[in-house]
């Protein structure tokens, strides 16, 4: 298994609220796993916990990635090990030029893995290529990171980062929210282009719509901090048609 989550319990550090309550999930290399669930079920919390946000505390359970326990690793160490979170709300950082940020991220990871750092011409070439594929204009990359980007541009910039950093596990946290249908198609194409037998995806979404374009191998329903049902893409269609109520009722 690439990612193995066992009996995970997570609470918010500040107010001790338990959000994840005994979650089990396994994802194989090459698999696209979708997580669906109503608001407040813990979807975004799960993505933050995997990426290492310190305002959540793991009180029980384990998470291993390629056999390694990641819970003691800092966010940058997790990134270096191959985990990437495409944020639901990418941060705007005034004063940090997007290109400088991209270069710092790529070279930090390369350095940590003992690879040679990219020289500027090679870096520019890689960015131009990926930006072209994703329809991201080089003009917006001259701006400060995510500042003045439209909602769609922010999401595309996340996928651009993902393409450049070439992670093994890509977590997409509601990447479809705020996207019109054209932007959604571009983003999905970007994701599909990265599908690979050595790379897994954890796609978190409210709606089945995204899964028409990024077709999942497995679908899991998250409710009240636990996976209450798992299936294939048919499960997503069922949820779209009938809502969550009967799945929740049959799990109770």
């Amino acid at each position: 298994m690439m990612l193995e989550i066992k009996n995970l319990h997570v609470k918010i550090v500040e107010d001790e609220t338990e959000i994840i309550r005994g979650l089990d999930l396994s994802i194989k290399a090459g698999e696209v796993a979708a997580i669906m669930g109503p608001n407040g079920s813990g979807k975004s919390t799960l993505s933050y916990v995997l990426a290492g946000r310190d305002k959540y505390e793991v009180t029980e359970g384990s998470v291993t990635f390629n056999g390694e326990n990641i819970l003691d690793m800092s966010p940058d160490e997790r990134a270096v090990s191959g985990i990437f979170l495409a944020f639901q709300y990418p941060m705007e950082i005034p004063g940090v030029a997007t290109m400088n940020f991209l270069k710092a991220a790529m070279n930090s990871q390369r350095k940590a893995r003992g690879q040679a750092e990219l020289l500027t011409p090679e870096f520019i070439r890689l960015v131009k290529q990926s930006a072209g594929d994703l329809g991201v204009s080089m003009d917006i990359l001259k701006r400060a990171l995510n500042v003045g980007f439209s909602g769609g541009e922010k999401k595309r910039a996340e996928i651009l980062q993902m393409a450049l950093l070439e992670p093994n596990l890509c977590i997409l946290d509601e990447t479809d929210s705020g996207l019109d249908i054209d932007a959604l198609k571009i983003v999905a194409e970007g994701v599909n282009a990265l599908r690979d037998k050595d790379r897994a995806f954890l796609v978190i979404t409210h709606y089945q719509r995204l899964l028409e374009y990024i077709v999942p191998d497995t679908v899991h329903v998250l409710y009240d901090g636990r996976i209450i049902q798992s299936g294939d893409k048919e499960l997503a269609l069922h949820l779209e048609k009938n809502g969550y109520a009967d799945v929740i009722a049959s799990a109770a």
């Binding site: 800092s74 966010p75 940058d76 990134a79 950082i93 004063g95 940090v96 991220a105 940590a112």
Partner: protein
């Protein structure tokens, strides 16, 4: 009868030097002898208790051509432009870059025409008593000087120096001047520099104060400006060193239609006390002024900003803004901000604001989640916070020099 003050060790040392300085020091000597240096009870010095903070005042320094050459080589003065070296308080014309014909520079000890010095103007008083050299720089009308002129002050030892410069910029001229203040490593030098700047009508001037002394040094600086009509003046201040620093900026705006921009960055390290005090006197209608300061404080550093804007009753249509934003990076770090508006005109726009914050945890997480280590992520965010002040500078090179200082400071203090 007032009880005479009991002098501190710093005051004793200062009084000793003033006694040796001769007649030019008599007023200063009398004042400091009777009242001592200002304490927090003097309003202008409320956040910088000079009497307690000034621990010593070393003997007056000196230099010859050989020490000056060494100093310039070790302190890496080699910036492009015109360098006027002032080593341990003495100007070295033999080492200066040749000047364009449109600029006249004369070195002289100025002991006359001090004008009136206010009781609480400790920097002016000390300078009057101790100034041993200074430059008079006169720039011709309509002169367009492309090379930046750099007054490079270097201290090589634990000595003191006081200099007073006068700069007169003719109408319609355009140029960049830079005051640099450096020391050798680990010298507890004390310097005092007063610059009187007259900006002629329609001229476009950038004045940079780049202070990067070692963390034992003390600096008192004062820039007194008279701004003419339709002139544009940008003052950039970067404090990235020093143990005790007080930089005063006094601008008298006497020309209608003028535009004043003051942008400052104070990087305040462990054990440092850095105070920037500005006073704008807006005396005529239709002027624009903008002040922005960004401060970063680490360890037990203490920063101070006092900004006074005085708008005279005839100065209608004034547009004056002032902002002071500070990042406090430790529990022991401290910043005191005191913006003040004194407005006697009724048709003006004036605004001021002060904020204090820490690194934004969400931004930090975002950068780290991309694999950038914590230290480097913090540095990126701190640089972003301060570098904004120097963004979109017309003199791009200056921005680069200042950004390099910021990087150096962060690698030592981050």
């Amino acid at each position: 009868m007032k009880t005479p003050v009991k002098h501190t060790i710093g005051e004793e040392a200062l009084l000793g030097l003033l006694q040796k300085a001769g007649p030019q020091a008599s007023q200063t000597l009398k004042s400091i002898n009777e009242r001592g240096l200002p304490t927090r009870r003097v309003e202008a010095w409320h956040y910088t208790d000079l009497r307690n903070l000034l621990k010593n005042y070393p003997d007056v320094g000196s230099s010859n051509e050989a020490t000056a050459k060494t100093a310039m080589a070790t302190c890496k003065i080699g910036l492009p432009g015109i360098t006027l070296p002032i080593i341990n308080g003495g100007y070295h014309p033999e080492l200066a870059t040749t000047l364009p014909q449109k600029i006249l520079v004369a070195s002289q000890c100025q002991t006359q025409d001090w004008g009136e010095i206010a009781k609480d103007d400790a920097i002016g008083l000390m300078n009057m008593g101790l100034a041993s050299d200074g430059l008079t720089i006169i720039v011709n009308e309509n002169a367009l000087i492309e090379d930046r002129i750099c007054l490079s002050h270097i201290m090589t030892d634990t000595k003191s120096a006081a200099t007073r410069h006068r700069v007169k910029i003719g109408a319609g001229a355009s140029l960049t001047l830079m005051e640099r203040h450096l020391t050798a490593n680990r010298v507890a030098a004390v310097t005092n520099t007063v610059c009187d700047l007259e900006v002629g009508d329609r001229s476009i001037v950038t004045w940079v104060i780049d202070q990067q002394m070692c963390d034992l040094a003390t600096r008192f600086g004062q820039l007194n400006v008279n701004l003419g009509a339709n002139a544009e003046l940008t003052i950039l201040i970067l404090n990235s060193g020093g143990k005790l620093v007080r930089q005063e900026i006094n601008v008298e705006v006497t020309g209608e239609g003028s535009e004043l921009n003051i942008r400052g960055v104070n990087l305040i390290g462990e054990g440092a006390h850095i105070d920037v005090t500005t006073r704008l006197d807006l005396r005529v209608p239709d002027t624009v002024s903008n002040e922005i300061f960004r401060n970063v404080v680490v360890g037990n550093g203490h920063g101070v900003f006092q900004g006074l804007i005085n708008v005279a009753s005839i100065a209608q249509k004034t547009d004056a803004r002032m902002a002071c934003n500070s990042l406090l990076l430790s529990d022991a770090s401290e910043f005191s901000a005191k913006p003040e508006l004194e407005i006697f005109a009724d048709d003006v726009q004036c605004a001021h604001g002060a904020t204090v914050s820490d690194i934004d945890e969400d931004q930090l997480f975002y950068l780290m989640a991309r694999g950038i280590p914590e230290k480097q992520s913090r540095e990126l965010l701190i640089t972003a916070f301060v570098a904004e002040v120097f963004e979109s500078l017309e003199v791009e090179q200056i921005g680069e020099v200042l950004n390099e200082r910021i990087d150096n400071w962060l690698s030592n203090n981050g």
